[in-house]
């Protein structure tokens, strides 16, 4: 294809947007609304995922060691835990450290336990984290069977429930997003098809005077691309601004600070990129699918 022709196709595509003003408006509106809904869900899903991840990361296994375990025994347990493939990290917490952490967690009331240093009732322990939070229960059970391990604590029951909830939220989010993306594609393909029906004559004449199929397709390609990308811009701006104010509002509201949302950047870039790509894809796909029927003259 000659460069001059590329210029012509782009010009034609842009001109056609103006010529079919109302149809263009309808198509872009359809893209805008669907991408806005899609964007809201995308933000929601990404944040739910983020919150779930932060909660999941806090899940750890506390391994209490037998009071009788001496230094070589402790080392042996450590290397055994390390050998479990799902384990990501292991940290030794001596009984002195354990007490210190315990007292710190009590804050002002720590004086109640003053003098316990001599008669420390806490055992030595390990803090174990797994690579995947979902493996926690299985790894905990495995550790429990080891020699010199007197007990294991990982919040049995609660953790399982949490994982059940987070995975449901994630799956529902994915289903919603995929469903909406398909709805948007068919909606847009249909709207563009209407604009092409109105231009059947033009295509017919182009074929009659000897235009090649790709010569006819290119302006529609440009047009679909422009409609998709334009349709993505408004939702991107709307979503970024509202998300900025949402973060602001949550910062000033103390009861909500426990939920940490994803920061504005790079989240808005990611969402913007996703919406532009999806918008461009459905625009191009919609117009090329629609023009196909009319090329068989």
């Amino acid at each position: 294809m000659k460069i001059r022709t590329i210029g012509r196709h782009v010009r034609e595509g842009v001109k056609n947007l103006g010529r079919n003003g109302w149809m263009t408006f309808a198509s872009i509106s359809a893209v805008m609304i669907t991408l806005l809904i899609l964007g809201v869900f995308l933000l929601l899903a990404m944040n739910v995922n983020y919150v779930a991840q932060t909660i999941e990361k806090q899940v750890e296994i506390r391994v209490f060691l037998d009071v009788l375990a001496d230094k070589p025994a402790i080392d042996q347990v450590e290397s055994q835990i390390r050998a479990i493939p799902q384990v990501e990290s292991i940290k030794f917490v001596s009984k002195e450290e354990g007490l210190k952490q315990f007292k710190e967690s009590l804050g002002e009331k720590a004086y109640l336990f003053e003098g316990l240093e001599k008669e420390n009732p806490l055992p030595d322990s390990f803090v174990v984290r797994t690579k995947l939070p979902q493996d926690t229960a299985a790894v905990a059970k495995q550790i429990q069977r080891l020699q010199y391990v007197s007990g294991v604590n990982y919040g049995a029951g609660t953790v399982e429930k949490l994982f059940a909830i987070t995975s449901t939220v994630r799956n529902v989010g994915i289903v919603f997003i995929v469903g909406l993306a398909f709805t948007a594609m068919f909606l847009i393909a249909n709207t563009i098809k209407l604009t092409i029906v109105a231009r059947r004559r033009e295509i017919e004449i182009m074929k009659l005077v000897g235009a090649t199929n790709w010569f006819i397709r290119w302006p529609f390609f440009v047009e679909g691309l422009l409609m998709g990308v334009t349709g993505a811009l408004v939702p991107i701006i709307l979503l970024s601004v509202s998300y900025y104010y949402l973060l602001d509002a949550m910062k000033s509201n103390i009861t909500l600070t426990i939920f940490k949302l994803l920061p504005l950047f790079p989240l808005v870039y990611q969402v913007a990129l996703a919406l532009i790509v999806i918008g461009a894809f459905i625009g191009i796909w919609g117009s090329l699918v629609s023009v196909r029927r009319f090329l068989r003259v």
Partner: protein, 228 residues
Amino acid sequence: MIEMFDVWKTYPNGTNALKGINIRIEKGEFVYVVGPSGAGKSTFIKLMYREEKPTKGQIFLGGFNVSRIKERQIPIVRRSIGVVFQDFKLLPTLTVYENVAFAMEVIEAPPKLIKPRVMDVLGLVKLKHKAKMLPSELSGGEQQRVALARALVNNPGIVIADEPTGNLDPETSWEIMKLFEEINQRGTTVVMATHNREIVNTMRKRVIAIEAGQIVRDEQRGEYGYED
């Protein structure tokens, strides 16, 4: 030159539009195709510019075997043919100039050549002064002249016309016919399907009559031969 050998056309609904057509049209000829409605005239015309494919038989047109070419080559064949229709088929949103230039842009003609050539053919159909008007601002005869200019702008060897005067009053029809005659005298082959008795009987040319899908008459300087 156009040649057809034992051409049959059966539509998917079972209609036998053409039944064994054999014809030879020389370069530079002027041919009327006449016959009652539904006799197969339009199919005969459509086969030439490959809007329809024959069910059986061979069609040769300007060095191409039109019945055998691939989908991809159709545009190449069409560039050697100009087509004119009863309903003009102009683009309503483009001006007269743009409508004609469109045919050149579409085949990627060099832009430098487009303007002089378009003004040239507009001069031929005497519409230079209305180049900037929209089709809706023109009379029927003027619109058909624009369509004719568009058909001619790429210098085709053959012009095919399907009822070009069907929508026009007698006086305007004659203007259009004079243009066709002029084009023919410059060496372009003209094949025209028509119902216009007066024109066929006055401007005597070769007449091919099609009835029920077969050629029933083929005479030089023939008559229309039907009562309307």
